[in-house]
């Protein structure tokens, strides 16, 4: 199975399916009988504004799969990059971007996934961080309800690096945001957070896997989400601590609120530990808004819808409290508030 090959060769038998263990809740082969034709070229002039417009930073555009293939942050340089991944129409496309942050460099990557039409898209990103480098990746994804979209990030860290990300999504017809991290330990730190707000029949799959390969690494993870109507969320978080990766510290939490009895959350947190002296914990909860709390809030005068969105906003807001970039986080907050104002 390879989505990239399936798109390039227009071969539906190569689409990931429920028979692939890691894709069992995000079956693409069962969904798409055929792979759509290659997408048309998109003119940059047609693309409107992105959610991070207005922030300072270097703009990079991937339009229906066409865009730059390499991005380099040289040693000790500090840069903000605004990456828009825009898809239109009902075609299929796949692209790959390599990002290299040299030793001591700092990258703030503000990434958006927009449009999608009724097409199928894949964006793969390879990110490597040289010694002492850091990257914070903030993602806003708002796709069309008919689109099928996958974003994969492969991260390679070096000693004393820091990689942090916060994914925020409203899902798609079927969407997967996957993050794979090779963690060398040696003082490197990873934060993999996410928040989703899914309504109607939307689907979002947040899959992460972190492999601790050397001693003394830290990983922390907080994913929170809300599903309503007939939406479906998938959370798969795997942390592997290899033999020799002693002293690893890994914490993972996933908490979801289900607001409708036809909505669904499938969660699979996994810790595999083959090393010694490791501190690992995971916690997972799936629940509903507390009716007694809602009544208490309404007794104070809040209309039900407002009480619900206040609770939802504070529940998801804890994810934003962990974002480091001070100005972009306000964009994330506003984005979330707008998604919740639409009613919970």
């Amino acid at each position: 199975m390879s989505l990239d090959e399936a798109i390039r060769l227009r071969d539906p038998s190569r689409l990931p399916s429920r028979r692939d263990e890691d894709w069992r809740w995000t079956d693409l082969r069962g969904l798409l009988r055929t792979v759509p034709e290659p997408s048309q070229r998109l003119e940059p002039g047609e693309l409107g504004v992105g959610p991070f417009d207005g922030l300072e930073g270097e703009a990079i555009l991937v339009a229906n799969g066409a865009g730059p293939e390499d991005l380099r942050i040289v040693a000790d340089e500090s840069r903000t990059v605004i990456l828009r991944n825009v898809s239109r129409g009902d075609g299929a496309h796949a692209s790959r971007l390599r990002i290299e942050v040299a030793a001591g460099g700092r990258l703030t990557l503000l990434e958006s996934h927009e449009g999608g039409g009724a097409g199928l898209s894949l964006l793969g990103i390879d990110l490597s961080l040289g010694e002492g480098a850091s990257c914070e990746r903030l993602v806003l994804s708002d796709l069309d309800p008919e689109s099928v979209a996958v974003v994969e990030l492969d991260v390679r860290l070096s000693a004393r690096t820091r990689f942090a990300q916060t994914l925020m999504t409203t899902g798609a017809r079927r969407q997967r945001l996957e993050t794979r991290v090779r963690h060398p330990g040696q003082g490197a730190e990873v934060r993999l957070d996410g928040a989703y707000v899914l309504r109607d029949r939307r689907h979002a799959d947040l899959t992460t896997s972190v492999r601790h390969e050397g001693p003394d690494g830290r990983t922390e993870q907080l994913t929170r989400g809300i599903v309503d109507d007939q939406a479906r969320a998938v959370f798969q978080g795997r942390i592997t601590v290899q033999e020799g990766a002693d002293g690893a510290d890994a914490r993972m939490a996933h908490n979801a609120l289900i607001l409708s009895d036809r909505a669904e959350v499938d969660a699979r947190p996994e810790l595999e530990i083959y090393a010694d002296d490791v501190a690992c914990a995971h916690g997972a909860t799936v629940g509903a808004l507390d009716e007694d709390v809602l009544f208490y809030m309404r007794q104070r005068g809040l209309p039900e819808a407002e009480a619900r969105s206040l609770l939802a906003a504070s529940f998801l807001g804890e994810v934003l409290d962990r974002v480091e970039a001070p100005v972009p986080v306000e964009y994330l907050r506003a984005w979330l508030a707008a998604r919740l104002d639409a009613g919970i």
Binding site: D290, V293, Y296, Q299, R300, G301, L302, P303, E304, S314
Partner: protein, 248 residues
């Protein structure tokens, strides 16, 4: 002000209020006492519109407005406030954020303008200092991790901020230490006045030494079994509820 006529309420299959009639005129404070399980909290919940309480008969009006036909939040906007016997925790929402949202929602429902941030903070500082509440506590998520007594104090703080005209205090004294009881009672007394009434539910005469009621009622087995002046509370303290026990 508050007028209840032959109110009958069921929870599930069980009838809890069995024809309760009560009048609390404007400006008065009435106490309700009664044995555990008599239906006192049920009365406070049904008046404030908690889901799950089925009114099978009777009427409840606040200044002529039918309460039972209104949503819980609309009743609050009418000026009805309940100090909960067991206040709830609101995770992640700082007390001040919550109270300001509640205040503005009530104002909006009444067609009034929102309160400005400086005016709100000024009022919060005054109320907090009257009730000896540490202002930093108001920045924490409401009631989360607060002690039983702190939660009760926060109820009265919210009441002072929202300035309702009909207040139901459901065992607001339980869990308060001796000093807190006095401070909270002073806070409650400051809210007394013309055009404002209260229903004070309590098990203890001691609260009524601080908050002097105009009338005292005994609620037993879903009805008002007796009414009298403040001396009735003293009599109950001496004699208990034996004589109001279900006379089959």
């Amino acid at each position: 002000m508050l007028s209840l006529r032959d109110l009958r309420v069921r929870v599930g299959e069980r009838e809890i209020l069995k024809g309760l009639t009560l009048d609390v005129p404007s400006g008065e404070v009435h106490a309700i006492m009664g044995p555990n399980g008599a239906g006192k909290s049920t009365l406070s919940y049904v008046l404030t519109g908690r889901p799950g309480y089925e009114v099978t008969g009777g009427a409840a009006e606040l200044d002529g407005v039918d309460l039972l036909g209104l949503e819980a939040n609309a009743r609050a906007a009418q000026g009805l406030f309940l100090s909960f016997q067991y206040p709830l925790e609101i995770p992640g929402v700082p007390a001040l954020t919550f109270i300001r949202a509640a205040m503005n929602a009530q104002r909006k429902a009444r067609g009034e303008a929102e309160i400005s941030a400086p005016d709100f903070l000024k009022q919060a500082r005054v109320c907090a200092s009257d009730l000896k509440i540490d202002f930093d506590m108001l920045k924490r998520p409401l009631n989360v991790g607060f002690s039983g007594g702190e939660k009760k104090r926060m109820e009265v703080f919210q009441m002072a901020m929202l300035s309702p005209r009909f207040m139901i205090l459901d065992e607001t004294d339980s869990g308060l230490d001796i000093d807190a009881l006095r401070i909270v009672s002073d806070g409650v007394n400051a809210l007394r006045g013309p055009g404002r009434s209260m229903l004070v539910i309590t098990h203890y005469q001691r609260l009524l030494d601080y908050i002097r009621p105009d009338r005292v009622h005994v609620l037993a087995d879903g009805r008002i079994a007796a009414s009298g002046g403040p001396e009735l509370a003293l009599e109950l303290e001496r004699e208990g509820y034996d004589k109001y026990a279900r006379a089959a």
